[in-house]
């Protein structure tokens, strides 16, 4: 898992010449491809699955993979392949909610902390550090205890726990943008702080947001799997890769394939989002390119 803290390297992504086109790197290509496949699976599940993924049919329980059941069936006789297809929806939903919450709050927070007077920015960042020190999974379990277990609750919690990563990164980028002469020129032109934030800072830190979002996406997919595994995530019968993994646990010696399919799906999806994040960072960060 790539470190979510990319402040040091990514701050230099705020550079003058982002518009220059760079060749597409391997990780960007592979990552993009994997993410596209996951999105494709989710879209496909809306129109077609080989079987009803939630249909319980004891007559076909624990079937081996066959032309009829591609990945076999689980202990209730549900089609594993259909569940994997359907589960990709949960995965994507989870990613979008968690990253959405984190970005919608974290990005404005970072910009404010970067533009505000120094003492206020420092104050915000110290509060941020406090939240950063709190483990995301623990927060999610706490939320589940208070508001009841559910995909949305879990993901809002993961999103809140990811806010500090966004805020810190975006503050770094904002501080850098605020030092540029085009911001000074905008001030001299009579632009107020809000216009500077929206018209200059936000567009120039947007590449940082994209990179952090793709990394955050991977983290939240993993977190949802972990939470579902612990029973605090997606409740049955909605298919979720994490819960499939949990349900396979007791049958691990009889039917290990029930753990392998969702496990591989999670690993590949997380890998895909991480590669995409790395690829985007390579593309947007000129300093990394020099080092290579």
């Amino acid at each position: 898992m790539s470190a979510p803290d990319v402040e040091a390297g990514a701050a230099s992504a705020v550079s003058a010449d982002r518009h220059r086109r760079r060749p597409v790197t391997g990780s960007l290509l592979v990552g993009g491809l994997i993410v596209a496949v996951v999105i494709g699976m989710a879209l496909l599940s809306f129109v077609w699955t080989p079987h009803d993924p939630t249909l319980v049919d004891p007559s076909v329980r624990l079937q081996e993979p066959s032309p009829d059941y591609w990945f076999g069936t689980d202990k209730f006789g549900r089609d594993v392949f259909s569940q994997i297809l359907m589960g990709s929806r949960t995965t994507l939903f989870v990613g979008f909610v968690a990253v959405g919450v984190a970005a919608l709050i974290g990005v404005p927070l970072g910009i404010v902390a970067g533009m505000a007077p120094r003492w206020f920015g420092e104050l915000l960042m110290r509060g941020n550090d406090l939240l950063l020190a709190f483990p995301a999974l623990l927060l999610a379990i706490m939320f589940a205890a208070v508001y009841g277990a559910g995909t949305l609750v879990a993901m809002v919690a993961i999103g809140i726990a990811s806010i500090p990563h966004f805020a810190r990164l975006i503050r770094g980028g904002t501080l850098q943008v605020m030092r540029t002469e085009y911001v000074i020129a905008a001030r001299a032109a009579g632009r107020g702080p809000f216009a500077i934030a929206v018209r200059h800072v936000l567009p120039n830190v947007s590449s940082l947001v994209i990179v952090q979002a793709s990394v955050g996406f991977a983290i939240s997919v993993l977190a949802e799997a972990a939470l579902s595994f612990l029973g605090f995530g997606t409740p049955p019968p909605t298919p979720s890769w994490g819960r499939m993994l949990q349900e396979s646990q007791e049958l691990l010696s009889i039917a290990p394939r029930l753990a392998v399919f969702p496990g591989v799906a999670i690993a590949v999806a997380v890998l895909g989002f991480n590669l995409l994040g790395d690829g985007l960072r390579d593309r947007f960060d000129p300093k990394l390119e020099d080092r290579r």
Binding site: A16, D17, R18, T180, E181, Y182, A185, G190, N204
Partner: protein, 290 residues
Amino acid sequence: MAEQPTSTPLAPEPRTGPADAISVRDVTRVYQRPRTSLRRPSPPVHALRGVSFGIPQGQRFGIVGESGCGKSTLLRIMAGLDRPTSGGVAIDGRDITGLRERRLKFVRERLQLVFQDPMSSLDPRMRVGDIVAEPLVAQGHGNRRERVAELLEAVGLRADAADRYPHQFSGGQRQRISIARALAPRPKIIVADEPVSALDVSVRAQVLNLIADLVDELSLTLVFVSHDLSVVRHVCDRVAVMHAGQIVETGSTEQVYEDPRHSYTRRLIAAVPTLGKALSGVSAADLNRE
């Protein structure tokens, strides 16, 4: 051009008056550096130590000095973008010291800046048309499209430049864009911070001439900051020489250039590279010895 020769070696007495476009009264600026020790207080940096001068309307005023002498700090304070630690600045006789941003509107309308680095002074994410129009938007002017086209033509760029991004232009062209933006709100004062230092020698003269012509044509007051005395000589009537946060000499450009009084000014003039010196084998290292 026929300015009174008021050159004095130290502590020049400024002629300030209500008619001056800019008057600077005994400005100091102290920065706090980050603490280096737990026991000792953070070391202060004296960027400006009591700077005073006045610039009459329509004058082309040069400020020369090496990097780190406080030129840029002075310039930001003059533009109302930074606050002096003590002393004051008046634009058109109105004191701007310590005013809130809302009350600085008249400065934003009257005074505009041109920066050194044409890479970083234009937002890479904005189209040139929007960049040039920014002061117009900020100050609520109408007819922006026509004005932008007019400005681009005035600085010698094609009208279709408005739809392109800064990275599609050369350094000299970007500096023209910067000049167009500065002229957009019809200011009376232009403050240029090393506007040609980052440019190739081949385009320097073009940009300098453009600035000089526009200043003449629009009868503007020009404050021109540079580390290069020969560039200042090219455009300015009067010059102030800055060293270590103080003005060590002021006078008409010719006089300071021909007959420098202060030893620092003499060093600065000696540092101007000439063909003769280069041929006789003077290297940069020789300039420090005197």
